[in-house]
């Protein structure tokens, strides 16, 4: 939050939660952290807002926007509750990641329940972070790197190439020389330090996940120990 003074960009976060109280909370948290916020109460409304409408037969429509713009209103991040009636946060995450126009938007999942299998499922589907509720101001500090990374990517590369994939390729080459190394990009040192100050929420998840070896399908979740 100390960076706020130098930033001219205002990032827009779409927050999805069926609970009115939690919507109010997340809105205040995000605004306090200098984000622009829109809140909706369902996954369906979130997709509508993002410009992805479904046809009545359930197949998604292409967004009604020009090719240069990604959606009707620019959204830099989606933060969604997991447990929602109808479309869960996981379903929403999947739909976003399956959409060619939306898949680069970072998605964060929130849940009141610490279920390791749920957490890993979400991360494997492409969620950037998983927050345990109630979400705190300090949790939101973890959002900045994800939003900044995507924002930088959009400026540098008009095509939908994602740089981490390039890095992964480079590491693949390295891997041939060093078979023990993980095929994961190293997060910047600052981010690693930030992640070392994790709350115990993260730790509880790490403990349950650590015995598994990492593989290429696991996203760049820098909170997980980078040791093998």
């Amino acid at each position: 939050m100390g960076m706020a003074a130098t930033e001219s960009q205002q990032f827009h976060v779409l927050a999805v939660d069926d609970s009115l109280i939690d919507r109010k909370l997340i809105e205040r948290l995000l605004r306090t952290s200098s984000y622009q916020v829109t809140t909706v109460d369902s996954g369906t409304k979130a997709l509508e807002f993002l410009g992805l409408r479904e046809n009545h037969d359930g197949t998604p429509n292409t967004p009604s926007v020009s090719p240069n713009n990604h959606q009707e209103v620019e959204v830099n991040m989606v933060i969604t509750d997991y447990c929602m009636p109808g479309m869960t946060g996981y379903d929403l995450l999947k739909k976003i990641k399956e959409s060619s126009s939306l898949r680069n938007i970072p998605v964060v999942i929130m849940s009141s329940e610490n279920v390791p299998s749920r957490i890993s499922r979400c991360l494997e589907e492409g969620a950037e972070e998983f927050f345990l509720k109630p979400v705190r101001l300090s949790d939101l500090n973890r959002l900045k790197p994800h939003i900044m990374k995507r924002s930088k990517l959009k400026d540098e590369d008009q095509k939908q190439q994602v740089i981490p994939e390039k890095i992964e390729n480079l590491l693949e080459v390295q891997k041939q020389h060093q078979p023990q190394e993980e095929a994961q990009p190293q997060p910047p040192l600052e981010q690693q330090q930030q992640n070392n100050n994790n709350s115990n929420k993260r730790k509880s998840m790490e403990q349950s996940l650590s015995p598994e070896p990492t593989d290429r399908t696991r996203p760049r979740y820098s909170g997980i120990a980078t040791v093998v």
Binding site: S19, I21, D22, K24, L29, T32, C83, P134
Partner: protein, 154 residues
């Protein structure tokens, strides 16, 4: 009563709410989110909670009164109440909900009824406590004072 005294009273009262477990750290988070641009944030969120919980408790009463109890529905209501109480830091209400959900899983109607009774009591208690707290705050502000920043150091 002069402002300093009222502020001390507020501090003592707040401290007692934490020590007795009515509130937990999340309540402090709410206070941190309140500022000059959002001066009523805590009261607004707390009010929402009591509106929400009032309805949920009614729904739970009706649901547990049915001949054939729908435990799935009850669990869904309790899950919601647990979530919202957790979001405002109403610790004792939240803990009641956790126990309640366990009995839902066991499909134990009697135990659920006891839990419902308990959770109603806890909601009532914390409502009274918070109303007292907000009244104290209003008195301080009316006297030209400000609300001290609370830190959890015990």
């Amino acid at each position: 009563m002069e402002v300093g005294q009222m502020q001390r009273q507020w501090l003592d009262y707040t401290r007692s709410l934490f020590i007795e477990g009515f509130l937990d750290g999340q309540f402090l988070q709410l206070e941190q989110l309140q500022d000059d641009n959002n001066p009523d944030f805590v009261v607004e969120v707390v009010s929402l909670f009591f509106q929400d919980s009032h309805k949920l408790l009614n729904d739970l009463t009706i649901a547990l009164d049915q001949k054939s109890v729908d435990f799935k529905k009850i669990d869904a209501h309790v899950h919601q109440l647990k979530g919202s109480s957790s979001s405002i830091g109403a610790q004792r209400v939240k803990n009641c909900c956790i126990a309640f959900r366990n009995f839902c899983e066991e499909q134990n109607t009697d135990a659920c009824l006891k839990c419902l009774h308990q959770v109603k009591q806890e909601c009532c208690l914390v409502k009274n406590k918070l109303e007292t707290l907000f009244r104290l705050e209003q008195q301080i502000m009316a006297a030209g004072g400000s609300i001290p920043m609370m830190e959890l150091s015990f």
